[in-house]
């Protein structure tokens, strides 16, 4: 028996890096006393070869599977992680950590600035997808994992996956990028700017220092979420779900939530402010807007992937995703081909929009089942 056989199947906590290990940031700044909240499923095997890193999307967290400790709901990717699922904890050590800049335990704008003893607020340095990945690489290294079997993520998680391949190609065997892009488009940036302006227009935002005042810009953040939520769906999905159905009998002839779709969006906005920090929303959306993997390579994405020739990629997109449309994934795949990397690509038929990567999509499950089985066979 190896020692890992006695380790718990589910684990988690906060990894604290000492003052000798600051997080170097792309902006040139640094973060002292970095803390990364993490959760894991399954056991790391003796040679550390079965580790899979899951990268989460904008408003998600490290609780990818199992039960969320606050909401009590199942993890956000239990479709993929669990017994008999494509990533079975019986076979894999599955690790997920909250991104730097987040608000679920990792260092972010809500954390206490050691220099002032007060929450950072907007004095928190601007972070990038590259910074998030650098922090993950520190965590993975600290845990004694030399080479990840796979790095997997959807949406912003997919951006981290691509960044991993570009920054640390020798530290991952395979990469799964779902419903994502190698850069933020003008439309992506535009929607994020609407969200940020909504937050900052809320008088309770207080220039980012709302924590000291004991308030929260809930209205602004809710509106940001409502606008963003529309971009995660599709016209077809909204029509199928709500059509022009009314909340009550007849119209109110006012501005109440007459239509079910209005009520739904208000609910989404209201529920979001209970679980997410407004400043984190500003910082993480900014990180996504700044993301352009090809930029340091003269705009040639294949050059970013050239060191990742030995990484086995799987890229998936959804037909009705207009936030990160298939054309973005195809651009990634063509660049991978040009770089000589092994890549699989599938556009999955779905009317669920961008959120399809989190939802019931049996074709995605089947594709990833096969992909991870082949990765496991190659270990």
């Amino acid at each position: 028996m190896t020692s890992s056989d006695t380790s718990p199947v589910e684990d988690g906590g906060i990894w604290r890096f000492g003052p000798d290990q600051p997080l170097r940031l792309d902006s040139g700044a640094g973060l002292q006393g970095l803390e990364i909240a993490w959760r894991s499923y399954g056991r790391l095997n003796a040679d550390g070869s079965n580790a899979v890193l899951i990268c989460h999307a904008l408003t998600l967290d490290q609780h990818a599977a199992g039960t969320h400790p606050v909401s009590g709901k199942p993890g956000w990717w239990t479709r993929l992680i669990g017994p008999g699922r494509p990533l079975d904890p019986a076979d894999w050590f599955i690790l997920c950590s909250n991104v730097v800049g987040g608000c679920n335990g990792s260092t972010g704008p809500g954390s206490i600035d050691p220099a002032t003893g007060a929450p950072y607020g907007v004095s928190f340095p601007v972070i990038t997808i590259g910074d998030m990945v650098r922090a993950q690489a520190m965590l993975v290294e600290a845990m004694g994992i030399g080479r990840l079997a796979a790095v997997v993520g959807g949406s912003m998680g997919g951006m981290q996956v691509l960044q991993w391949a570009a920054s640390y190609p020798e530290r991952l065997r395979s990469a799964v990028c779902v419903a994502s892009a190698a850069r933020h488009s003008a439309q992506n940036i535009a929607f994020h700017e609407v969200g940020r302006q909504a937050v900052m227009a809320d008088p309770d935002w207080r220039g980012g220092a709302y924590a000291a005042a004991g308030v929260r810009p809930e209205k602004g953040l809710a509106v940001a979420r409502m606008a963003a939520h529309i971009t995660y769906l599709s016209e077809g999905a909204l029509q199928r779900k709500f059509g022009r159905e009314l909340q009550n009998d007849g119209l109110s002839w006012g501005f109440d939530a007459d239509f079910q779709v209005e009520s739904y969006l208000r609910h989404q906005g209201g529920a979001f402010v209970d679980r997410f920090d407004a400043n984190s929303y500003l910082y993480i959306t900014r990180a996504m807007d700044y993301f352009d993997l090809a930029a340091p390579h003269g705009g040639v994405l294949a050059e970013a992937f050239r060191p990742a020739r030995d990484v086995n990629f799987c890229v998936l997109s959804f037909t009705s995703d207009w936030l990160y449309p298939t054309a973005e994934s195809r651009h990634i795949v063509r660049s991978l081909n040009a770089a000589g990397a092994r890549a699989s690509f599938l556009e999955i038929e779905s009317d669920k929009g961008h959120d399809a990567f989190l939802l019931d999509e049996p074709v995605m499950d089947g594709a990833l089942h096969g992909f991870f089985a082949s990765v496991r066979a190659s270990l």
Partner: protein, 226 residues
């Protein structure tokens, strides 16, 4: 097993890098990987077939021979296989050119429109031929660029390609090595299969894989003695 698959398996050298263009559900790819130790990858247009391939653990890209070959680097593969697909591409000449840019050798098979059944069908019925090799009516067939053996041979001349091997395939019978220039073969071959390389570019030397035995003379039925 499909006769053209059997012939392709015979032609491909063990351990080769192979791109199967129009790989379907991945049957040939799986055999190439399992039986020939190939580094096999696929390109397939239909999403359902790609998802089947991925579920089987194969590396397959959903894409289009007409457009997506352009993005592969030159000589990335030892072989590019185009099995019963050329006639369904929009620009077969471009596709053939691209196959022999990204791979040292191309293996191309297609239904021969010069086959006697096709000629007989058109002659007697006066309508677009429907044969066992080409069963679909004109309005639903994916085959938009059909050609005869003689047409294809002319294209290989035009593109300055070397025909390293040519076989006639008739359903249910073993592949028969033929001389593509012979007129009667254009009547007899229901399907044709070509192994092509570029005259202007010397293909990589024949491999001395594994045992190091002279491959050409070893076991019958396999050019490389696998």
């Amino acid at each position: 097993m499909r006769e053209d698959f059997r012939e392709i398996l015979r032609l491909v050298r063990p351990g080769a890098r192979v791109l199967d263009v129009g790989c379907g559900e991945g049957d040939l790819l799986e055999m190439l990987i399992r039986d020939k130790g190939a580094d096999g990858r696929g390109l397939e247009l239909e999403a359902l077939k790609v998802s089947d391939c991925l579920a089987r653990g194969l590396s397959v890209i959903q894409g289009d021979a007409d457009r997506d070959l352009d993005y592969f680097p030159s000589r990335a593969f030892d072989y590019a296989v185009l099995s019963q697909t050329l006639q369904a591409t929009r620009n077969p000449r471009h596709v053939l050119n691209e196959l022999l840019r990204i791979a040292d050798r191309a293996i191309v098979s297609f239904p021969n429109f010069g086959h006697w059944r096709v000629r007989w069908s058109l002659l007697t019925r006066g309508r677009m031929p429907e044969t066992r090799a080409l069963p679909e009516p004109w309005w639903s067939t994916p085959n938009i660029h059909l050609c005869s053996l003689a047409d294809f041979a002319a294209l290989t001349e035009d593109l300055d390609l070397r025909v390293e091997h040519c076989a006639a395939l008739v359903r249910g019978r073993p592949a028969r090595t033929i001389e593509p220039g012979r007129g009667w073969e254009n009547w007899r071959a229901e399907n044709a299969l070509f192994l092509l390389s570029r005259r202007s570019q010397s293909p990589t030397a024949e491999p001395a894989t594994g045992s190091g035995a002279a491959p050409q003379t070893s076991a019958p039925g396999d050019l490389f003695g696998a």
